[in-house]
Subunit: 243 residues, 2 copies
Amino acid sequence: MRPGEYLTVVLHQTRSPDNLGAVARVMANFGFSRLILSDPATYSFRGAERLAVKGDAVLERMAVAKDLPEALTDCVYAVGTTSRTQLKGRTALTPEEAVRKLAEESQRGRVALVFGGEQRGMSDEELARCTDVLVIPTSDVQPSMNLAQSAAVLLYLCHRQGLVEPAPVAPQEGARLGTLNALAARMREVMLKAEFLNPQAPEHVLNELELTLMRARLTQREAELWLTAFKHLGRAVARGSSV
Amino acid sequence: MRPGEYLTVVLHQTRSPDNLGAVARVMANFGFSRLILSDPATYSFRGAERLAVKGDAVLERMAVAKDLPEALTDCVYAVGTTSRTQLKGRTALTPEEAVRKLAEESQRGRVALVFGGEQRGMSDEELARCTDVLVIPTSDVQPSMNLAQSAAVLLYLCHRQGLVEPAPVAPQEGARLGTLNALAARMREVMLKAEFLNPQAPEHVLNELELTLMRARLTQREAELWLTAFKHLGRAVARGSSV
């Protein structure tokens, strides 16, 4: 990979061209070039160039994904940012911890830093698409940071951590989130069919299970094994229920 | 001092209300409340409130100074930010070093973080008004950061360093920059009269001398002693030249 491509910046449901431009500029400032818009809240991003100031190379290469799982599909690790300190069943990392993990995980493949929309940030469900969650500690008076300013803080720390070009080590192919999401979808389907999950509220238990697999830092091969296992289970369950 | 008042943020020759608002917001995010505009490039800052988002308390208390020396007059230490890596006779600190020094010096009195204008940043002459200089390391492709984003990076680091409320130690009253500037002005006058400085270009040598005094971290009493000494010298030189 070229320098600056280890880290993908994902903007989820971004609304403001100003913020997009400012994020592109600060990515250029710190040597990062991979930007993905996930389910953008608007497509009229004219005006972003004005604020991008030499970040236009970033904007030109920017990709758009229909949702968060699609945006993260080829990453092995993703950390989502939130200003909420009450998080269901998860412990938020500090920015420094998150950046250290991004650097470690970048040895296994692409990693992503995910920012929520300007108005509501990311829901628990959306954060569950990320391997980890981070909170930038702020004052109680005004806990909510501007999107482009959080990006500045975190990309500065990534730059300091040497994430632009991680030290080369023996590569170990980490499970891509695309595969892990396919696995989660399959698990859901199979476990619903098997009446293990409550059809009214399957997410809670499912997310807990998913998180354990994320924490296990599966290799791609292991994730594919799990996926194949659930395909088989699914067929077996379907056969059982049609008897 | 109340928490958040140890650090003064000085915006020198700021032009954009958007930047002002964004800086006020990020100050509120990280618990800082003292903002001074030095020689602002415009006075029509309507619109700043829109971006300040709960940073209005910061904007309401904001002071305006006619120039940098006036803005820094009651501080014992100031660090100026620049994106220039070629600096006459000075070695730039990294952000982490600068923030460590801000924390140390805040034991002696108020400290300031100074940002230059959007268009030209700060000149060598303006940076000479600051005790130290810092550079945020950036990529060669786009070295120049947006003002509000540099503020986000540095105020985050200040917040992490505990600068909002420094650990109480035996107070040692540091020399205020107002006194140090009065000293520098007096030195200039006396040394010009004494024909020690080149009247065509007195700054270079004078700045070198000033910097040694800044590095010495004078107490207020020591600075006043120096100032009194130069007043006496000035009178003596004037008597000599009128003979």
